[in-house]
Symmetry: C2
Subunit: 715 residues, 2 copies
Amino acid sequence: MQAQKWDKILTSLRPMFDPSSVAIIGASSNPDKPSGQPLVALLKNGYKGQIYPVNPRYTAVQGIPCYSSITEIPGTVDLAIIAVPARQVLDQMRACAAKKVPAVIIFTSGFAETGAEGAQLQSQLTDLARQHGIRVCGPNCMGIFGARNSLMANFAIDTLPDRVIVQDFLGFISQSGGFGSAVYEIIRDRGIGFSYFISTGNEADVDFSEYVAFLVEDEHTRVIAGYLEGVKDGSKFIEAVDRANRAGKPILLIKTGRHEAAARAAASHTGSLVGSDKVYQALFRQKGILRLESIEEMKVALSVLASGKLPAGNRVCIVATSGGSGVLMADKCAEYGLELAELSEETRHRLSLILPEFASTSNPVDITGQVVANPLLLKEALEIILGDPNYDIMILCYWALHGRTELYLQQLAQMCLASNKVIMNLIWGPEQPAIEVVNSLNDMLVPAAREADFAVRALSSLAWYVKRQQELRQPSPEVPVPPGAREKVQDLLGQLEPGSTLGEYRTKQILRCYGIPCTGEILVQDEEQAVQAAEKLGYPVAVKIESPDILHKTEAGGVKLNLSSAADVRCAFREVTGSARQYRPSARLAGVLVQQMLPPGTELIAGIGQDPVFGSTVLCGLGGIFVEALRDVSIRLLPLTFNEALAMIAELKAQRVLDGIRGRGPVDRMQWAQILVRLAALASDFPSIAELDINPLIATPQGIVAADGLLVLRK
Amino acid sequence: MQAQKWDKILTSLRPMFDPSSVAIIGASSNPDKPSGQPLVALLKNGYKGQIYPVNPRYTAVQGIPCYSSITEIPGTVDLAIIAVPARQVLDQMRACAAKKVPAVIIFTSGFAETGAEGAQLQSQLTDLARQHGIRVCGPNCMGIFGARNSLMANFAIDTLPDRVIVQDFLGFISQSGGFGSAVYEIIRDRGIGFSYFISTGNEADVDFSEYVAFLVEDEHTRVIAGYLEGVKDGSKFIEAVDRANRAGKPILLIKTGRHEAAARAAASHTGSLVGSDKVYQALFRQKGILRLESIEEMKVALSVLASGKLPAGNRVCIVATSGGSGVLMADKCAEYGLELAELSEETRHRLSLILPEFASTSNPVDITGQVVANPLLLKEALEIILGDPNYDIMILCYWALHGRTELYLQQLAQMCLASNKVIMNLIWGPEQPAIEVVNSLNDMLVPAAREADFAVRALSSLAWYVKRQQELRQPSPEVPVPPGAREKVQDLLGQLEPGSTLGEYRTKQILRCYGIPCTGEILVQDEEQAVQAAEKLGYPVAVKIESPDILHKTEAGGVKLNLSSAADVRCAFREVTGSARQYRPSARLAGVLVQQMLPPGTELIAGIGQDPVFGSTVLCGLGGIFVEALRDVSIRLLPLTFNEALAMIAELKAQRVLDGIRGRGPVDRMQWAQILVRLAALASDFPSIAELDINPLIATPQGIVAADGLLVLRK
C-alpha cells in the first residue's frame, strides 16, 4: 500500500480517537449498562467536547438534553456510539450517514460471532460504512478509551487512573474485550499510563492493523501492545508493523492459538479466519515483534520499557544473596537464552576483598547470607560489579525483608537508575513484603519482579528485540536474479489453467530462469535420443518418466538411477515408459528425462507455500528422514532478504548435519540462502504459485543443485 | 541396602529430630547471631526438653546456667549444636564423643566449601563422627526446625508459625540454607504447615537421602519437598525414593544444574560432585519424583496436595468468564501436556439454556462478560459442568472483582470442595484484590493461583505423578535371560585387565549370552576359512577386521560389505588385513570377521553407560544421523523393567521413524524393549562394564539384530 493510502486511513481515524463531539445512540440513564456508562463516564472525567445522548424515549439523560434521532442534533457529530439492539443498527448507521458522522463505535453483539445470519448483517454493515465513508469500530466491541482527552467511548473503563507513573506510554489493542479490559486493569494498576485502549470487536471496518498504524502515528504512544487472535489481511498487518519498526515503537503481543485446540477455540470466539500459528511465529521473528506468553511476562517487559533502558546485548550477570537462588537463576537464564557473562579479574578480586571466604565472586555472584548481618554488603558489592563492562543485564536477587528501610531501597534504586545497564531486581520473600518492595521499585521506574520465569523470559525477549531491530536496519546483500527471469517464466506459466501441476522438467526450467542450479537433463522421446542425451551429459545418468499426471515417479516405477552404459539407458527407457503406462494407463507422457547423476551429498529441501492470511511463504529444511520424521522446517514471509534467509537456515534444529557429519563437508549456507532469496523473488513475481517443492535439493561438494521439483498453480 | 540397615539409620537419626535435651556449644546471648538464636528461640517457643548453653566465657546465658564444656553437663545430651569457629570444631566433636552425644548439628562454615584445606578438615570430621557413631548434620548448615516439638535447632527460623491451615504436612530438605529458608518463609506464609525444615549443609555425615528416608517414616510428614543440587550416593537416594513411593508420600524437588553453566555454579556452591542432569531427569521420570521449576510452581502444587485431591487423569475442562482468557488457558494446557476434554452433549445443551447466545458451551467454556451483570451465572454454569464425567481437572478462570463478596466466594468454594475433581481457581485482576481472593480460597483448602503458567504446569506435573505412581505399582512382564548367562560372561570378562576394550566379535559373544540377537558371523584367520565361513553363512556377506586396537573399523578401511562370491571374499580378506596393518602397524589382529549381511532396516542404538553418581545406565536411541545430529537418546537407571523400557522408547523424539516411514515397517518395540531389559541385566550383573555400545542395532522385518558392538571395562 502506498504511503498516501495510509495517510488517508490515518486521517479518517482521527475523529474516532479525538472527537470534538460524541453522540450516544441508545443512551440510557443506567450507568451499569453499556448504553449508560459512556455518558456518565464522559461527564465525570471531564471530556471537553460536546456530548449528545440520542434516545426517542427521553428528553434528557443525566441532566443533558436528549435527542430522538442523531439527525436532530444541532451541531456536527464527530463520533457516534451505537448501543441499540442488533436489528436497529443498520437504521442508525443510515441516520449517521445522513448526519455525515465520520466515525462510529458499535457496542452491539449479534453479528458475525453468532453465525451465518449475523455474518450477513455484518456484511451489510460493512457495505454501508464503505459506501458513506464512515469508519466503524466493532460491532461486538467494548469501544475506545483515551486518557489525554478523557474519551470514555467504551463500557469497560469508566474512570481515569488515579496514579500514573509513566504518562503517555502504552497503546493497547485487544481482539477480546473482556480479556483486554482485564489486561488494562492489571497494567494500569502498576502505574503504566495508557494513551488509548481499543477493543476491536468483529472488525467489520477498521481492523487491528489500522489501529496499530494509528498508534504508531500517535505522539502520546511510545509502546504498542495487544491481544491478537488473528488478522484478516496479512500484508496490511506487515505494513503496519513496518511503520512501527521505522518509528522505533516496540509491539508486544499476546497471540493465542499456538496449539491446535486453542486455535479452534479462538476461531469460534471471533468467527475470524485464523492463519497458521507457524506463519505468525515466522512473521514475529522476521519483523521483530515481541511475542509474550502471559500478562505477567508483559507486565515485566513493560516495566523494563518504562524505565527507558533496553539491554544492549544478552550477557547477564546474576548477583544473589543466596547461592541457591543464584544457581536457580543461572538455570533460568540458560533456559531462556541469556548468556552468563564472565566478570573481569579486577571485579572478582575487588569482590573477594569485601565478601566472606565462602562467597562466590564469579557469576552467579553469591553475596551470601552475610547480608543479613551487614545489609550494606549488597550495595558495596553492587558498586564494584556495576563498574564491570562485561555484561549487559544484571539480575539482582535479594530477600524482601533484608535491610528493608525506605532509605535503603531508595539508595539501591538510585544505583540502578544511575547505571546504563538494565538491572532487574528479583525480589524473594513472603507475598506481601515482596510485593511492597517490587511496587516501590517500580514506582521509582526501577524494573522489579517476583517471578524468575517471567523476569528472565521478558529480559531475553527484550534483548532479542534490540538485536532484531538492529539487524533489520542493517543492509542485506542483494541477490540478483538473471535478467529476463520474470518474462521467461511469464511465458512458461501464462498459458496454464489455474490449478495446473508442473512436473520435474518444467519446474526446473522455471527454477533455472531465476538462477537456481538444477541437475543437467534432457527431455527425450525415444531410446535413440536417450542414448545421445546420456552421452552428452556423461555417464552415469538417471532416467525418469516425465508426465504431468505422475507426481510420485518412484512409486510408479518411473525412475532408474546410476545407469552407466548405452545398453543400460535403452533398457531403462523401455522400463520406465512401460511401468508408467501400467501404473496409470491414462497418463499423458511428456517424454523421458535423462539426467546427470549427482555425487553423494546432503539432502535439503526448499520451497514456496501459501498461507490463507499472509500469502506466499518460503520454506527450507533438511530433506529425507528429517522433514518426514521431525518436520524440521523454517518459514518466512515475503519479501525475504539474504540475511533473513541465512537466519532461517540457522533456525533449523539439525545444525550439526549442516556443519557436516559422517564424512560430509558442510553445506554452503551462502549458496542455500541465495537459492531461498531467488525462490522468494519467484514467489513475489508469481503469486499464482500455490506450491513449489524442491525435494531434494542436494548439497554436493561442488555446490547445491535442485534434483527434483514440482509446482502447483493456485486454483 | 537391606531394610535392617535402613532401620539402623532411622533409629540413629531420632535424637537429632526429637531430642530430650539440647546443648548449644558456643552459645552466645546475642539472639541475632547464629550462636545466640537457637537458645532464645527454644526458650521462647516452648521447647519441652532440657537446654544447656555451653560457653566457658559465661556462667549463664539468657538466665540459664551455662557450662564451660559439654562434658560438665550433669544429664545426658541428645543433641548438640556446635556454633564455634572452624578450628575448634574437631575438639568440640571429641568432647561430644566423650559425653556420648548421639547427634550433632554444626552451623560452622569453613569446611569443604572453601577449598582443599577445608575439605581435609571435613574429612577428619567425618572420620570422628563415624568412629564414635555420632550423627552429624552440616557443617556449614542452618540446622533443623521441628514444628511439633518446637525444635529451634537452627538459625533461620526463630518463631513458630502463627497461622497454619494444614497441620503436619510438609517436610523440607534444602542443600542451600539461604534459599531453603526463603522457600520456608514463602510456603509458610501460605498457611502450609511444616513437620521439619532441614538445612543439610555440606553433608559430612547424614546426607540428603537419609533425611528423605527419615521424613518418609515420620508420621507428621505427608509430603516431602526439597532443594537439591546433587546427591553423593545415587543408589542410596534411589532406595530412599523407593521408600517414599511405597509410603505414598510425594517428593517435590527443585533441582538446579539443568544447564551446564548453572551446574558449574552449583558445584562450586556445595563443593559436591554434581552428576549429569540428564541422568537426574531420567531418575525423576523413572521414579515419579516431581521436578518443579520454581518456588511459585511448588506453591501451587502444594496447594493442590493440601486440598487432599489429586487429578485422576490429565483431561482438563476450562471454564472462563472471558473468551480470550479461555483461549489463552487452552494454549497453556496444550503446551504443558494437559488434554482438552470434550464435554458431553447434555452438558453443552444445558449450558446453552442458561448462557447468552455468543457464549461458548464447548471447552474452553466461555461464560462471557454477562457474569458482570449476573454474578450467579458462574455458579449456575459450574453446577452443570461439575456433573460432566468427561474430565479430571477443571480450571476455573474468573476476574477477582466480579461478585466479590465473602458469601459468594464461600459458595463457590463449597462447590469446589464438594466435587471429587481437582478444581483450580485461576484468578485474574489487579494485584491486591486477586491476591485476596487467592488467599481466601487457599485458606479454605481450595486450590487457587494467579499465574496461568505455574498453575497449569503444576497440574500437569501432578497428573503425571498420579499416573506414574500407578504405573510403578503395576507388574511388568518378566524378560528372561538365558540360563547360565552370568557364568558364561564371567568366564569371558573375568580374565581381563581393568580398562580393557572388547571389539565387535567378543562384545557380540557377550550379548548373545544375554539373549540379544546378533548378526551371524565367524572369526577366521585366512582366506580359505573366510570363503568356508561365507558359504556356511550364505552370500552376501560382510568382511571386517577384528582387532582390540582398531575401534573405528570403517575409518581404518577394515570393512567390506555386500560380498557375493568367493573371489570377492578372498579379495576383501586381503584388503581389510592390508588396510589394518597400514592404518596401525602395531595393532594386534584377532582375525577377520565374516558376517551375514542384514536386509535394509532402521538403524537403532542401545547401550550401557556409567554415571559418576548413579552407576550403570541403559540408553537407547535412533542410530546414524539421528544420534549424531540430534542427540535423541533416552536414558534409564537400573533396575529397568520391561514397561519402563517401552517408556524410554516412547520418549524418543523421532517416533515417526519408529512407526515406519519411507516404505519401512514399524520397529518392533516389544523386541527392542526386551533387548534393553537384557542389557540392564548384563549391566547389573557386571558393574565393571564402563561402556557398551550397540551401534547399529538394526530393526529388520525379521527382527532386531545387533550389527556391531564395543565394550569397555572400568579402569
